[in-house]
Amino acid sequence: MQLNRDFLPSLAGLFFYMNEKLENIKKLTVSKPLLLDCKQTVKDFPLAYETYGKLNEFKDNAILVFHALTGDQFVSGINPITKREGWWVTAVGPGKAIDTDKYFVICANVIGGCMGSWGPKEVDKKTNQAYGLNFPVITIRDMVKAQETLLDHLGIKKLLCATGGSMGGMQLLQFCATFPNRTFSAVPIACSTSHSAQNIALNELARQAIMADPVWDKGKYLKKNVQPKNGLAVARMVGHISYLSEKGMQEKFGRKLQEKADYEFSFDADFQVESYLRHQGFTFVERFDANSVLYITRAMDYFDLSRQFKGGLVEAFKDQKTKFLVISFSSDWLYTTKENKDTVIALNASGADVSFAEIKTDKGHDSFLVNEPEFLKTLKGFIDSMYIKFKNEKRI
């Protein structure tokens, strides 16, 4: 594939401008020492977060959202850094499925990320330089443990609900296993209890694309104020292919040509689908750090809940009082209905209270992010009914 290397000449400048703006967002300095799975202990690290709506006097209307691989804490409204809409505006906001007029919504940027939380582009106090590959390899459990401190900081003992799709769903399952009964209800969406071989393979493709870019320079590119944008763009393209379904892609693009009547007999983007992927790739590099992709995809690959507990998954979910609703999408081939059902089976085997719904759609893994009315109605119906139950339980 040929990518135009001068596509965004001012990219590095833009990226560092973003870094300056990151000073003005909400951040918690986590002072409690955190023992990472790689055995390093860290403390006094930043955790960037955002909240929407108001916490009521009973503190029983809080909903924690876990973001996916390339997400951040800006769930709804306009992201103040990128000036684009929040990644889940379809589901979260005033009058939406997760209604911020009614609920207090919290989302934190994962550690390893690049929207203000402790990650590979943060400055290592020991060397006064960006961590790069000196950043420790983190896990989903590390991410979740860091975020739990935010709940303490906000004074929330028990959440009404916690939810997340894709890696967000994986964090949620980890959260429920590590901190049982910290949430009244949970909606894991399009996720699994361990990363499949196919998903590890796709992540490896993304990482190899980044590492094959000479600008990457073993992760030290930040010293030169640059980003391996070509590699990072290809990594994002891989992701975008996996988020759509075969049928959805065919219907959206087919063999349509991009603003031209005939083939150009060149390697420019003749087809609309090529143009779409290039656009997705290049807009991504404006807002994301390549090393963060390496670290976060690694955390996803290492995720295997059954490995953490001697008795496997049954043990992981034992003694759960949390009410689960697992949601899958019929055309999702990244986290298939079967994988989601395996989570349901494990929850059932542990005696947990679990519901499951498969949404019939052609929109693939992306279904939870786009406007998919049946999904949004189900999400809203569940959360609203859980709020009534939670209030009854707590306020009697």
Binding site: K323, L325, K341, V344, I345, N348, A349, G351, D353, V354, S355, F356, A357, E358, K360, E374, K377, T378, G381, F382, D384, S385, M386, I388, K389
Partner: protein, 197 residues
């Protein structure tokens, strides 16, 4: 049929754990939770009905009882309920075995093909019976294995399934069915409700 749900509710003790297989829109589960403080979960094939349950805050799993009962561990429920669907499975025997594995007890209701109106339709008109409890015609009925109360009774004896109680329902009237009154009740009950273990 509301009467059927009432009979099932009466068969159940308070505070038990119940799985309703083919729970529909969750009417029975709601009734059991309200009247008996029962912890109910459902399994339902139709997406629309699954959503109705979710909106009501009921626990429900979207899935096919014919192929997905394996997900429930042995003896994980006090009671498993199967309302008027046994005859619709490809393999009722396999499903029934699974139900008895999952539940300490099983409640099964069947539309009775031995009911006199059903018998007379076939006898006098020579056509497959269409009644209130059996509203479909031969070509679009989901019922693959129609049976009578007597058939299921005999089946349980043959397979060494313990029959704890059988109740015949005809409109608003219910009566207990025993070996001695089986012939008559098989003729006059629209519905049979079996408590097995």
């Amino acid at each position: 049929m509301k009467k059927e749900f009432k009979v099932i509710a009466d068969l159940l003790p308070k505070n038990v754990k119940v799985l309703d297989v083919g729970c529909g829109d969750g009417s029975l589960m709601s009734l059991l939770m309200k009247e008996k403080n029962i912890k109910a979960s459902g399994l339902e094939l139709v997406e629309e009905k699954v959503k109705k349950c979710i909106y009501k805050g009921l626990s429900v799993i979207e899935g096919n009882a014919e192929t997905e009962l394996h997900q429930f561990p042995n003896q994980s429920f006090d009671f498993v309920i199967l309302s008027q669907t046994l005859q619709a499975f490809y393999s009722p025997e396999k499903v029934l075995k699974d139900l008895l594995r999952i539940g300490k007890s099983v409640i099964i209701s069947i539309p009775n093909f031995g009911y006199w109106k059903v018998r007379t339709k076939l006898l006098f008109f020579g056509k497959m019976p269409v009644t209130k409890t059996l509203p479909n015609t031969w070509y679009n009925t989901p019922n693959l294995h129609m049976c009578t109360i007597k058939d299921l009774f005999d089946f349980c004896l043959e397979k060494n399934i313990k029959i704890d109680k059988v109740i015949g329902v005809n409109e608003d009237k219910t009566s207990e069915i025993t070996k001695s009154n089986l012939e008559m009740k098989n003729l006059f009950s629209k519905l049979g409700i079996f408590l097995l273990s």
